[in-house]
């Protein structure tokens, strides 16, 4: 156990290959707001990377740029391993569950496959397996309004993962959930990630969540949105409830929190200077 604790998380080691490099990426909206300015960020294969920052720091904008839902004003997104990544290799989980309210759980998870022309019969094994992974077996016929907030989010995750994407982008997925549900979903998400070893970019405004989940926490500052600092969270996986209450975790949270406060102050300073 002790040896494992000393060793850094496997994906945090420098040997993993670069998946995506953002170089000098900026985004200016037509209303003149600079959402992102000169962002340099390297995402490695198998990373669980959190983007942490106050509202208005451009973390959601960064995620949308990575997803290809928006194009940068300046700079480049360099997808290693062959130009731009195919969109079918990206899973996206929104802040709201964003399910089709008229379709049941099965059909909601089927949707990405259905859009690729995969029939219900052919898709069924993948859907059944995915629903089992997010602990929703037996809820296939339920419609979203019959589910709790946490269960809806599980469906949303299952839908994002059913295509076996290499990158999972998550935009404050658990922000609207109560703490008990959030902890449970955190654990389940980590379990999924350790089994499949996909890459996660996770946007959050919670220090505790980012430290618990990630091997890298990128702290961002606002006005203009930019990368402020980065922390490596060198605690081993699997992380469980014991880690959540450990002094190590508390120390790491304090460290991240200190950096976040600096980032917020930097924002306030910029704001003050600007007026």
């Amino acid at each position: 156990m002790m040896q494992e604790k000393v060793a850094p998380a496997p994906s945090a080691s420098g040997t993993s290959s670069t998946l995506l490099a953002l170089r000098g990426v900026g985004k200016v909206f037509s209303n003149g707001v600079t959402a992102l300015s000169d962002v340099d960020l390297t995402i490695r294969e198998g990373d669980f990377l959190s983007l942490l920052g106050p509202s208005g720091c451009g973390k959601s904008t960064a995620l949308r740029l990575i997803a290809g839902l928006s194009t940068p004003t300046s700079g480049v997104l360099d997808w290693r391993g062959g130009g731009s990544l195919d969109r079918s290799n990206i899973g996206f989980v929104f802040q709201e569950p964003t399910l089709l309210p008229w379709a049941n759980v099965f059909d909601n998870v089927w949707l990405p496959l259905r859009l690729k022309g995969i029939s219900r019969a052919k898709a069924t094994p993948a859907i059944t397996e995915m629903l089992a992974r997010v602990h929703l077996t037996g809820f296939e016929d339920a419609v979203p309004r019959e589910l709790s907030g946490g269960m809806k989010m599980r469906v949303s995750i299952a839908r994002a993962m059913v295509t076996k994407p290499r990158v999972l982008l998550m935009d404050e997925p658990f922000a609207a959930l109560d703490e008990i549900t959030r902890f449970k979903l955190n654990n389940d998400l980590l379990e999924l990630w350790q089994d499949e070893r996909f890459t996660v970019v996770f946007v959050t405004h919670s220090v505790f969540e980012s430290v618990f989940l990630s091997n890298r926490v990128v702290i961002m500052a606002a006005r203009p949105g930019r990368v402020f600092d980065e922390l490596a969270i060198e605690a081993t996986y699997p992380r469980d409830e014991a880690f959540r209450t450990s002094p190590d975790y508390a120390a790491l949270c304090r460290q991240a929190s200190d950096v976040l406060v600096k980032a917020i102050n930097a924002t306030a300073g910029t704001h003050h200077d600007g007026h």
Partner: protein, 283 residues
């Protein structure tokens, strides 16, 4: 059993009052309008008797019912004619309204260009347009259909257009991320999302197509030979046959109510599992 009874007894005055009120509301919803209706019919009957009003001015309700029974053959064959126009025009309104809405949804430009024409068609009184239709269209059924269609299609068009355009932003992004084609987006996202709006428009259009059919028959009845309920009413009016007039009127309102109820039921069946409007109040 006793445990449950005790619990009922344990209710504090406020809760007990609420339970009582809920019970009254449940019963009152049916009993009150029914009672008022019966009272009104009774009063109508009494007014006729007390004032010795002759039958050709205001027939007693019993006489109207008797006429409905006696003239059933004539009245119901006319009703069938009116119903045919009503349902055909409603069907055409659904096809036209949804078809145009889907067309509008393809591009903002198309919608901006053509929607004003739909509004012009809607706000111009049908009675004023009819003389023109009368000149250009020869076939009687086509005339009536066109009239009823113009009245009925707009709510479907306008509601469905609204529905197709009110899709959740994130869902749209989700479809985009998964590389959905235009057709897939329409089929799996926009049309289902527009369903509650369309059904709302359909409920309005159902009543309007009946009104459109009757109005069209009225206007046409003065110029040509039509055999719908409206012409029965005109005919009865000329002959001072007030009981038949009332009987025909009764049939028209009954038809309107039935159309509304059927469309409400259809709407409920389609939306009951997922849409807020069809859900039972739980609090």
């Amino acid at each position: 059993m006793t445990a449950i009874d005790e619990r009922v007894l344990e209710l504090d005055p406020e809760e007990a009052r609420r339970v009582r009120q809920e019970r009254f509301e449940r019963i009152g919803r049916w009993v009150l309008p029914l009672a008022i209706m019966i009272l009104a019919i009774w009063l109508w009957d009494r007014i006729c008797v007390w004032n010795e009003i002759p039958q050709y001015i205001l027939p007693r309700p019993g006489v109207v019912l008797w006429t409905l029974y006696n003239d059933a053959g004539l009245l119901f064959s006319s009703l069938l004619v009116t119903l045919r126009i009503t349902f055909l025009s409603l069907a055409l309104a659904v096809i036209g309204g949804v078809g145009l809405a889907v067309l509008f949804a393809q591009s903002k430009w198309v919608e901006m260009s053509f929607f004003p024409f739909a509004i012009v068609l809607q706000v111009t009184p049908i009675v004023a347009i009819f003389p023109l239709i009368n000149i250009y269209v020869n076939d009687q059924t086509t005339k009536l259909l066109l009239c009823a269609w113009i009245v009925a299609f707009f709510p479907i068009l306008s509601n469905t257009t609204l529905g197709l355009n009110s899709v959740d932003r994130n869902l749209r992004d989700m479809f985009k991320l998964n590389g959905a084609t235009r057709w897939q987006q329409l089929r799996y996202l926009r049309l289902p999302a527009a369903m509650p709006y369309f059904l709302g428009g359909l409920k309005i259009a159902g009543g309007l197509s009946l009104i459109g059919a009757v109005v069209a028959e009225f206007v046409a009845g003065t110029t040509g030979q039509s055999s719908g309920l409206a012409s029965r009413i005109i005919e009865a009016g000329y002959r001072l046959n007030a009981p038949r007039l009332f009987a025909a009127l009764f049939l028209i309102s009954l038809t309107g109510i039935l159309i509304f109820l059927v469309l409400s039921l259809i709407s409920h069946l389609i939306l009951r599992r997922w849409h807020e409007s069809a859900l039972k109040q739980e609090r």
